[in-house]
């Protein structure tokens, strides 16, 4: 399943030279020379390090991660084990690990999890700040989800933005030479497309990614928000109402009726089967298409989340890696994170991800892979518009409660099902007040 090994290796080597030079310069800034010299420190014999990650949507990424982990193990003389599981199943494992004070030393944190599990996570300020110093400041959402109070509870790893994957050929036939810039323009094209039985697709069920992507980005795009900066519920606004009304219209005019029954995987399948013309997704559709449906990959491109009256927004949680407070190997764990986030290693991992992940700092916007496939550029740019759950408030535990109760998603879903938009917003207000109480 290894993909494109060797592909682009020349650019990468060139890039590494530059990156290496930069690292060299930064060594004086605090990164131990030992790491700069690509040598990990060694630990007492028998030191173990276990890492729990999600199963990446990109198989090659997992292969590369395991390879890197093994490499670190050899360099540092540490026995490294990696377990990768479906991201939905991480929560019970983390909860159980923290409560029983036993389990992996490093666990991947998705979105605002550092806030949820803050009490069980060790501080990683030194590592996180070193990287920021070397590579430039983190994107705001990466920082927001990782810093709890004023301590870093996770080292930001990357973002996995979702942009619109769309059929260039069909859009052209519907009169759109390029990807529409605003929601209204998108709707206009959508109307044409649906007339030709090529609707766009969007999930409104209870799955983790896609429905929330819509609910949050669109609410913000129209100027609404669930809470204000202080955490007061402000969902019941003219702006949110507009967003709901727009969504209902968009549903009728442009979207596939399947959406309410969809989960995160449905739009991938529908798109690859050619039954929808566009959908919000990570790069996974494009990857699978490149591997198995090259004809579809050829006519697929990616477009930005359109602008609304409130601006352009992406709902991006970002991902990080946390060291568990109970871990007896915190030093080794820290060294691993430091080593992994160092440029030579991160570069390889990012290349294996082939555009699916975006680095946590703007430094990685310069990675050559973005030039190799310009169709992936929107992913890179999306990070700038990224916002966290609960924005503009904190990505707190309360924001999580709103998220797991699918309040925003259900506000839209119920309106689509025929509830009056005003009532849907009012319902959401009531529920949010309970969640944020």
């Amino acid at each position: 399943m290894a993909m494109h090994e060797g592909q682009g290796s020349i650019e990468r080597r060139a890039f590494l030279r530059v990156a290496g030079a930069a690292t060299g310069a930064a060594v004086t800034g605090g990164i131990p020379a030992i790491v700069g010299a690509q040598k990990a420190p060694s630990f007492p014999k028998g030191t173990k390090l276990s890492i729990l990650e999600w199963v990446s949507f990109v198989p090659a990424s997992d292969v590369e991660f395991k390879r890197l982990a093994a490499e670190f193990g050899k360099l540092a003389g540490v026995d490294v084990t990696v377990d990768q599981i479906n991201m939905n199943d991480l929560n019970p494992r983390i909860t159980s690990a923290i409560e029983t004070k036993a389990g992996p030393d490093i666990i991947m944190m998705i979105s605002n999890w550092p806030h949820l599990y803050a009490d069980g996570l060790a501080d990683v300020d030194d590592v996180a700040e070193e990287i920021a110093q070397r590579d430039g400041a983190y994107y705001e959402h990466n920082k927001k989800v990782s810093v709890v109070g004023n301590r870093w509870k996770a080292v930001p790893l990357c973002s996995v933005p979702s942009t619109w994957a769309y059929r260039e050929d069909w859009f052209k036939e519907a009169g759109a030479g390029k990807w529409p810039d605003t929601w209204d323009e998108l709707r206009k094209v959508g109307i044409e497309l649906k007339k030709k039985n090529r609707p766009m697709g969007q999930a409104f069920g209870h799955s983790l990614g896609d429905p929330n992507n819509w609910a949050y980005s669109v609410t913000w795009g129209f100027g609404g928000a669930e809470v204000d900066q202080s955490g007061k519920v402000v969902i019941n606004s003219k702006e949110t109402l507009e967003a709901v009304k727009f969504t209902v219209a968009f549903w009728k005019d442009c979207l596939d009726e399947g959406g309410l029954a969809w989960d995160d995987s449905s739009n991938n399948r529908a798109y690859l089967a050619g039954t929808i013309s566009a959908t919000i997704n990570g790069a996974s559709i494009y990857f699978v298409a490149k591997r198995q449906f090259p004809d579809i990959a050829k006519v697929t491109n990616h477009g930005h989340m359109p602008k609304g009256p409130g601006g352009r927004f992406y709902s991006i949680g970002g991902q990080g890696r946390a060291i568990m407070k109970y871990s007896k190997n915190q030093q080794a764990a820290k060294e691993f994170l430091r080593w992994f986030m160092d440029r030579p290693q991160y570069d390889k991992w990012m290349a294996a991800n082939d555009g699916y992940v975006v680095g946590p700092t703007p430094y990685w916007e310069k990675h050559p892979l973005w030039e190799r496939d310009p169709k992936l550029v929107p992913f890179k740019e999306a990070s700038k518009f990224g916002r966290w759950p609960g924005y503009p408030g904190a990505p707190s535990r309360k924001a999580s409660e709103a998220l797991v109760k699918y309040i925003l998603v259900d506000m839209y879903a119920q309106a689509i099902k025929g509830m009056k938009p005003e009532d849907a917003v009012k319902w959401a207000e009531g529920e949010l007040k309970k969640a944020y109480a």
Binding site: N91, P92, I94, T95, I98, E99, L116, Y117, A118, D119, G120, L121, F204, G205, H206, S207, D256, E257, G258, G259, L260, A261, W262, D263, S266, R269, A270, A273, T275, K325, R397, S400, E401, L403, V404, K405, Y406, V409, D410, A413, Q414, K417, E431, K434
Partner: protein, 328 residues
């Protein structure tokens, strides 16, 4: 074969009048043998009972009693992941009662359990009656009926998810090609329909348990009774209703009991198929408790949702145990 040896005995015991073995006069004759001290102790019923129950009680105490008490403590605390909780009394339950999603989950749990159990019973009974005939490939058919119950639930549920898929549903493909529908049906896209699908999958999975167990029940029914009823002029339906049903009622209650408990606490199936969506219309206690405890990290609140199930289960069970004892 053990069962061949036992069958005549069972047949005997099924007829209360046929106890042929004389009751023993005395429990043991003194001086007959000299058991060692330990052996003597084990002759005492209460001591032997303690010894025999020890492994079970040890395991259950270690692995259930203590966690259960801890679970109850969670439900009356404001515990979140990683932080010690404080006692908050019934606050969590008060919050639940004001939570529309909880109330919906409450209602769903009952609808799901009762409809699914009723269907499993009806279809399981029908299957048992059919399987009780003699026909070719009887063994293979009986064994294959067990398949849905054997395959790991998460994986069979994934297969169902694939069959209910909005775009690729094989049911839609069939219905459309048969000209029965012109627009695809969104199986999981509507609250009521999705609930129906969940129940259907649960019935599919649980029915074999009913069928095979009830089949066992049917085989204890003495054919003589049927013949007698037939001579008296009872038709097939009357024979079933008057003769068969009363005889297999005890085992039926047992199956219903076990199945109901499992269905009440069901989690995997709904979690995989709908995760409680669309618009929180298919949450049950299990899935909602899981979301709150695991994904919002509110262990106390989650435990209180899980625990809300317990009194109802207990009531159902106490009633059924009482009923079974009474009919003993």
């Amino acid at each position: 074969m053990a069962d061949q040896r036992i069958e005549p005995i069972l047949a005997e015991s099924a007829r209360p009048t046929a106890v042929a073995i004389p009751a023993p006069v005395a429990v043991s004759v003194p001086g007959f043998r000299r058991p060692r001290r330990l052996g003597q102790l084990l002759e005492r019923q209460d001591i032997l009972a303690v010894v025999l129950l020890a492994p079970t009680l040890t395991i259950l105490t270690l692995f259930i009693a203590y966690p259960f008490v801890l679970g109850i403590w969670l439900a009356v605390s404001d515990k979140v992941v990683g932080r010690p909780g404080a006692f908050v009394g019934l606050e969590n339950f008060r919050v639940n009662l004001n939570d529309s999603i909880f109330l919906r989950a409450f209602q769903n749990t009952f609808v799901y359990t009762f409809i699914a159990t009723a269907l499993k019973l009806a279809l399981g009974m029908l299957a048992a009656l059919l399987l009780n005939h003699h026909f070719r490939f009887k063994r293979i058919v009986r064994a294959s009926m067990l398949l849905p119950w054997i395959v790991p639930t998460v994986l069979s549920t994934l297969a169902w998810q694939w069959m209910f898929d909005a775009t690729f549903s094989v049911f839609n493909w069939m219905l459309m090609n048969a000209g029965l529908i012109s627009k695809r049906i969104l199986w999981l896209g509507d609250g009521t329909l999705a609930m129906g699908c969940l129940i259907a999958v649960n019935v599919w999975r649980g029915m074999p348990f009913f069928a095979i167990t009830l089949l066992a029940g049917l085989q204890t029914v003495n054919p003589d009774l049927h013949e007698a009823a037939e001579i008296d002029g009872a038709n097939a339906w009357q024979r079933y209703w008057r003769v068969t049903l009363p005889l297999i009622k005890p085992i039926m209650l047992v199956v219903v009991l076990f199945s109901m408990i499992a269905t009440f606490a069901d989690f995997q199936l709904i979690y995989v198929l709908t995760r409680g969506g669309p618009y929180s219309s298919t949450h049950v206690f299990g899935t909602y408790a899981y979301e709150i405890a695991m994904r919002a990290a509110k262990l106390g609140q989650g435990a209180s949702i899980s625990l809300s199930l317990f009194p109802f289960l207990l009531a159902v069970i106490v009633f059924q145990l009482w009923y079974i004892r009474r009919s003993d």
